[in-house]
Amino acid sequence: MSKIYIPLPAKKIIPLYLQQDFDGFFVGIEGLSSNFNSYITRDEVKDLTKSIKDKDIYICLNRLYFNNEIDSVKDFLISIKDLDITGICYTDIGVLNILNEICYDKDILWYSNHIGTNSETINFLGKRGVSKVLLSSEITAYEIKMIVKNSSLRIGAELYGFLNMATSSRKLLSNYFEQIDEKKEKEKYYIKDKVKEGTYFLVEDKNTNFFTNKVLNGIKFFPELIDSNIDFIFLDDYMLNENNFYNIIEAFSSLRKAYDDKEFVSKLEQVVDVNTYYDTFYGFLDKKTVYKVEDYGKN
């Protein structure tokens, strides 16, 4: 059965989430990871492995690193090499190079962040030590199934959460507030484009990240992905309420027990919608992007 992974929440929330039926955590590390509600320090990883049993634990290095950061990333990877974790997620291919150099022997999961869109690239990385992949969110459910079929690695997809649209290393919000001579008081702001009036949100930390203002609710697509033997799905709680997210985990885990019951799936979709404070959407799961002039306007 396909696994369900979620981000590691704040310490006080962990017992609540552990009441639910899911399979593992993606763990954000302070200074090295992005877009988590909660981070642990590098020194806390060891304690985490002692306190959480019977769940997969992936240390999630889902950022690109500047040259002056990469030695410190290497030191961290060496320090956790022998700890009892399931594996490492990476986005920066420099991390893969380090893991291969230190002969890392646990799971290496490519957190592909927009560019995991085909099976050939995945198979290439499989030959270089990668064992699992979290695909790009900008592909359709059909493409996900094709990649699962055509690749030799264990494949996963995000089915819930705000979707990251872009990352800039520039401090775009700070720069703007400096320009208008006002103080930036929050971490999160909204932008509305003047053409289509779509709303999106921006968060500035180490980078500036752009997110959809709708939450992906892909539970409807979970049964067909289970049928295609997808290895795992990822549910993201970033910027969402933990109590509601508890119900989201429950909805997805319940579906695994009766995924061929269409009426039940439809009800669960409503449960997910109701438990999401924001509007939901299917992202690109049912919509292809276009790139040739003749295809514009077809979708």
Partner: protein, 400 residues
């Protein structure tokens, strides 16, 4: 000492030829498929073949971009295409999707692989990974500073290509899909709608924040003109100019300036020249800055008013031939000028010079008071011999 390469964009066959004439050591171009400028003119295989022959005759290398991020539906015809590229003798491909490395080996295709900037090569460990894979050259991320570039070269010894001039992405290259979400156009497959040139309203939870100044995140352009000696001394192999969709005037002007600066470094005559800056900045349609090279960009490295492009009417005409018998330049008009104006003429491997327009003749030999109509063939007197492909522009040195 191996001379640093000056690498120019070639949006089509015409621009390839201009780039070769104006001092490029290499050009990069896209084919009709698998390239990140899906809606540019791009090259058919036949045009590419002609372009390669022309470039090689001028001792200029040709790199072909195969730099989309592939989806399952995009593989068809790729192997055959790569074999065609090998057959016509291109010098390298610039690719970002890593599986192409195995595809080349598995199909015995002998093409040099340059890693595209779309791979966000920001650190030495990324470069080490690709060096082990046989990648000959990496195009470094535009976010790299001088110190980053130095350290990467020192630690890996790989050939590096660095952008020196042109537009910047707001986000990490390859990691921006705003176009996908806002317009459904796939940024990583060549259809980027340049959302970073749009303007937005900014809100906190409740209130609109922007009043007089819209929220925008459009970066100003990059220029490392004043850092060419640093880049050469760092050991960078290639200096890249962005802009496959730019005009021949833009490409010719940039190339002639950068060529002059590079050559002056090697022949020991380099010194900072305000004239070079004026020439470049007049030609650019946005403000240019060193961006990440000398400091981390802040508020002044971007615009707050969305798409900011200055129109440029400096380009006056293209020399078609020199009539030595009548001492007249035959040219094709691009922008208005009139009798009595002083214009500037420049061309490959020559000093530019000013010319006062004593008369203008149309194709019937009649005197006219001005060059008014785009692409009209006209004549002006000139005692100094000029060459086909020289360009005529406003005498902006005097204006500035």
């Amino acid at each position: 000492m191996e001379k640093i390469e000056l690498l120019a964009p070639a949006g089509d066959l015409e621009r390839l030829k201009w780039a070769c004439l104006y001092g490029a050591d290499a050009v990069y171009l896209g084919g009709e498929k698998f390239s990140l400028r899906a809606n540019a003119t791009n090259f058919s295989i036949e045009e590419m073949e002609e372009g390669v022959k022309y470039a090689h005759d001028h001792k200029v290398k040709v790199y072909v971009t195969v730099n989309i991020v592939f989806h399952e539906e995009d593989f068809e015809g790729l192997v055959e295409y790569l074999k065609e590229l090998e057959k016509i003798g291109i010098d390298a491909i610039i690719a970002s999707d890593v599986f192409i490395l195995d595809l080349l080996k598995d199909n015995n295709i002998n093409l040099e692989f340059h890693l595209s900037t779309q791979c966000s090569c920001l650190n030495k460990e990324v470069v080490k990974f690709f060096k082990k894979e046989g990648v000959k050259r990496v195009v470094l991320a535009r976010e790299c500073s001088k110190e980053d570039i130095k350290n990467i070269i020192d630690e890996t010894g790989i050939d590096t290509e660095v952008f020196v001039h042109g537009a910047m992405c707001m986000g990490y290259s390859g990691r921006c899909t705003l176009s996908n979400y806002l317009t459904n156009r796939d940024s990583n497959r060549g259809a980027c709608a340049q959302i970073c040139r749009w303007t937005f309203d900014l809100y906190d939870e409740k209130n609109k924040i922007n009043k007089e100044t819209d929220f925008s995140f459009a970066p100003k352009d990059l220029s490392l003109l004043n850092f060419i000696p640093d880049l050469i001394e760092l050991g960078v192999k290639s200096l890249k100019i962005e802009g496959r969709m730019k005009s021949i005037y833009y490409v010719a002007t940039l190339l002639s300036v950068y060529r002059r600066v590079i050559d002056s470094y090697y022949n020991g005559t380099y010194k900072y020249s305000k004239k070079d800056e004026i020439e470049l900045y007049r030609c650019a349609n946005r403000d240019t800055l060193p961006q990440y090279f000398d400091k981390f960009p802040g508020k002044d490295e971007q615009y707050y008013i969305g798409r900011q492009e200055n129109t440029n009417q400096d380009f006056l005409g293209v020399v078609l031939e020199y009539d030595s018998k009548n001492k007249e330049i035959v040219f094709e008009q691009r922008n208005y000028f009139e009798v009595g104006d002083t214009i500037n003429i420049f061309g490959p491997n020559k000093e530019s010079f000013n010319l006062k327009i004593d008369y203008i003749k149309n194709k019937d030999g009649e005197l006219v008071d001005a060059a008014r109509h785009p692409q009209e063939i006209l004549r002006i007197p000139c005692d100094k011999m000029v060459d086909k492909y020289d360009l005529m522009r406003v005498d902006f040195f005097k204006e500035d």
